[in-house]
């Protein structure tokens, strides 16, 4: 307790001395990064203070209590930082970590390909060494924010004779070069949350190979394992809204850009919260058959919510992870699908409409055309069920037919284009 108080006081004192909401955001974050308070759990060699996660959370709390902005920690940039901290060279950490904390650099993830979605390790983007440079050719897809990014976390194949997980290598690629073309990928709901990235003789310096050649899968696992955690952070920050000063204006602009791809995500989840209000508004609430469907949805959504709470409580109590922890994504798909059905039934004829003609200024239509995404994005329902069956329930894996040299594995020859 006393230690907590001391640390909190120390941070507060530092903020007393340095915090100025009229600074511009980048300057302030440079100060924070260099002070070590931006990422106190990182090593003191690299913008940190060697603190425990517990201590780091006290620092974070002190920033929040003070109402001061911390280091840039949202989105793929944090995945990059954590992967580089785990697997990067000294030079790479020196070169990239500061720009991450200051928010100067944005990052994107270049893992998925048109031909390898669920089967990430089947990537066919190639990296060939030519002198001191790796030459990259191939196509990536589902790259959030790639159109804003300075750097990409790239998984590419360097060895075609090794089994598929062992022929991949992990690189940092500079996105601002002629060989890299980024195109936004329009979705059926009219939004564009992702990009395609085409690499044609793009260049990566030898120094930007992360980890070992052929060791890319291990690095990618580090990135993916941190994926959920760091996305969570991007959302918390709304609390600072409404504060005065240039720094907050800068921050809001940053959030607006960062969150732009996600404006439709609440609709993707099915908007269970709107159901009762809509049912009252249309009179569906008085239809006994519709009440049954509304009730089914309420039961599923509440049970899913409680299951999530049980998982969190078990983790907090230090209990071993039970099955309840792996089910959230699958439950969310089911909830969203059912919610879209119920919203349709409640709306009747009006479910024909879109845009301003659709109820709630288009929100209802956006639910109907967005929910199909939730069972695909971030690992399809099918992949979730494989994981639950094999890792949670311990059921045997299927016979494998892709464990020989990658060269011989059957695959999508050219990768289906988006015109599939």
């Amino acid at each position: 307790m006393n230690q907590t108080t001391t640390l909190h006081a120390e941070v507060t004192q530092w903020l007393d001395e340095h915090w100025d909401p009229n600074m511009d955001l980048l300057n302030w974050r440079s100060l924070v990064a260099d002070s070590g308070w931006g990422a106190p759990s990182w090593p003191s060699d690299y913008y940190g203070k060697d603190m425990s996660p517990m201590e780091a959370s006290i620092v974070e709390q002190a920033f929040a209590d003070y109402g001061a902005v911390g280091a840039a920690q949202s989105g793929v940039r944090m995945l990059a930082a954590l992967t580089l901290l785990a697997h990067g060279s000294h030079d790479q950490k020196q070169k990239y970590l500061r720009g991450i904390l200051t928010g100067e650099d944005q990052w994107c993830q270049l893992f998925s390909e048109p031909g390898s979605g669920s089967d990430l390790a089947g990537a066919t983007t190639r990296a060939d060494l030519r002198g001191d440079e790796w030459i990259i050719n191939g196509q990536k897809v589902w790259n959030t924010s790639a159109h804003h990014a300075q750097y990409g976390l790239l998984l590419a194949r360097t060895d075609w004779d090794a089994p598929k997980h062992q022929g991949l290598t992990y690189f940092v690629i500079n996105m601002e070069q002629p060989g890299v073309e980024v195109r936004q990928l329009a979705q059926m709901n009219g939004h564009a949350s992702f990009n395609e990235v085409f690499m044609t003789d793009a260049v990566v310096s030898r120094d930007d190979l992360v980890g070992e050649p052929g060791g890319g899968w291990k690095c990618a696992m580090t990135t993916l394992a941190n994926e959920r955690r760091s996305f969570d952070r991007a959302r918390d920050i709304g609390a600072r809204k409404g504060r005065q000063g240039k720094i907050f204006r800068d921050l809001e602009e940053e959030f607006a850009i960062a969150n732009e791809p996600y404006t439709w995500y609440p609709q993707r989840a099915g908007r269970v919260d709107l159901i009762l209000q809509r049912a009252v508004a249309t009179g569906a609430i008085d239809d006994p058959a519709q009440r049954q469907d509304i009730a089914r949805l309420h039961i599923m959504a509440e049970s899913a919510k409680w299951t999530g709470e049980r998982a969190k409580a078990a983790a907090k109590a230090g209990k071993p992870q039970g099955p309840e922890g792996s089910l959230g994504k699958l439950a969310a798909s089911n909830v969203a699908r059912l919610a879209a059905r119920v919203h349709t039934a409640i709306s009747g004829n009006d479910a024909l409409l879109t845009g301003a003609n659709s109820p709630m200024d288009g929100v209802i239509a956006e639910i109907l055309v967005s929910t199909p995404a939730i069972s695909i994005a971030g690992g399809t329902d099918e992949i979730q069920k494989n994981i639950i069956a094999e890792r949670v329930m311990g059921l045997p894996k299927e016979p494998r037919v892709d464990d020989g040299p990658f060269r011989d594995v059957r695959r999508n020859t050219s990768g289906p284009t988006t015109k599939a």
Binding site: L352, N357, L368, N412
Partner: protein
């Protein structure tokens, strides 16, 4: 039931299929759906004159081909498969049937030939608020009139192809009950407001009538709206089954071409079983759509249905609508899912059918409303059997 198609019918289907795969590839659908009227005049002329699809079910003496609902069903199925853009359902099917039922000989002469030949495009305006077409929903008023002209006042919603119609048939209420009234698409007092629809391949409009001059159709049989709704549901069910099949085909094709983990994903048992379930759903729904078309074909005169015919028609029309629209949506959702991320993109074609499925789910009434309507029809049958016994 027309359990199996004749060789002529199969040939007829093939010719439509060829025509549409030439003339209505999805690239063309995408162009047309981005336009205001969703319609290509030249293609419409080809459809109506070269292929004579707009008059399939119109008697020969009225300028049609003299076939029936089964052949019309084949055409609709193929149009649903291709996502044909144009006022086929609204004009050639719904309005033509309305004229067959309600127009007297002179009126048929005046309008039906043009509708059958595609020369003029007609829309049918019934709905005001409710999903099902029920008399209670009709608040639009017809006044004055006699034989010559009436004045219409009211609002109609979800008028299919209302924005491109040369003629509009309006269901309105006069002192002596509900009848259909014909107005010109450019008449004074008619305001047409295009709607932003979920499915841009099917255009719809709201219309407002302020003392719009109209001609009353002579015949207004009992249960007129019920009969028109039955025709609409049966047509839609057959159109939808074509879309189901198109989606299923694309799911089957894509999963076979797509390799993950060294295997075609169609070789994964979970995928196979879901495709088998889908096939079952589609075939069962297909039977429902075909049966409904046959039941309509069994009605010799839609103007004078006896109670038994009406009951069967209602039972089978609502059954088919409820069955097929749920299968359609399910097939669309599964097809997106089986395509993975690519299935959610704009460039992939799946969403075009998904949106058609989604809007067809509630067009002419929700599945739940049609299940209830079917149950009522069945009960009335049971009651009359009991009374007869």
């Amino acid at each position: 039931m027309a359990l199996v198609f004749t060789a002529d019918q199969d040939q007829f289907r093939d010719s439509i299929q060829r025509f549409l795969s030439d003339q209505m590839p999805t690239s063309r659908v995408r162009q047309l759906m981005a336009t205001d009227h969703g319609l290509d005049n030249q293609l419409w002329r080809q459809t109506s004159t070269e292929l004579a699809l707009t008059g399939i079910h119109i008697p020969e003496h009225l300028g049609g081909a003299g076939f029936g609902p089964v052949e019309l069903g084949i055409a609709l199925e193929e149009m649903g498969r291709a996502l044909f853009c144009g006022p086929y359902l609204s004009s050639a099917v719904l309005s033509a049937y309305a004229l067959l039922i309600c127009a007297d000989a002179d009126q048929q002469e005046r309008w039906l030939g043009d509708v059958a030949s595609g020369e003029r495009r007609c829309s049918l305006a019934v709905t005001e608020s409710a999903g099902l077409w029920q008399n209670d929903d009709i608040q639009t008023k017809a006044t004055g009139g006699g034989t010559a002209s009436s004045l219409l006042n009211g609002r109609k919603r979800f008028v299919i192809d209302g924005q491109s119609a040369d003629l509009i048939l309006v269901a309105a209420r006069a002192d002596d009950g509900i009848a259909l009234y014909m107005i010109d698409g450019d008449t004074n007092g008619l305001t047409v407001t295009a709607l932003q629809t979920m499915d841009p391949t099917r255009k719809m409009a709201d219309i407002e009538l302020n003392d719009a001059v109209a001609t009353k159709l002579t015949h207004a049989p009992d249960h007129l709206l019920d009969t028109l709704l039955n025709v609409a549901c049966i047509a839609l069910a057959n159109e939808m089954i074509g879309g189901c099949q198109r989606l299923l085909d694309s799911a089957v094709n894509y999963t076979q071409l797509r390799y993950q983990f060294g295997r075609s994903i169609a070789s994964f048992q979970a995928i196979k079983h879901r495709l088998a379930d889908l096939l079952l759903d589609v075939e069962l729904s297909r039977s429902a759509a075909y049966q409904a078309a046959q039941t309509l074909a069994d009605c010799s005169d839609l103007r004078t249905l006896d109670e038994d015919q009406r009951r069967h028609l209602t039972e089978h029309a609502s059954l088919a609508k409820a069955a097929v629209c749920e299968t359609y949506l399910q097939t669309a959702l599964e097809t997106i899912q089986l395509h993975g991320g690519i299935g959610f993109t704009w460039e992939n074609d799946t969403h075009l059918w998904f949106k058609r499925a989604k809007s067809s789910e509630v067009l002419f009434g929700t599945p739940a409303e049609h299940r209830e309507r079917m149950m009522t029809a069945i009960e009335s049958g049971n009651r009359s059997q009991e009374n007869a016994a």
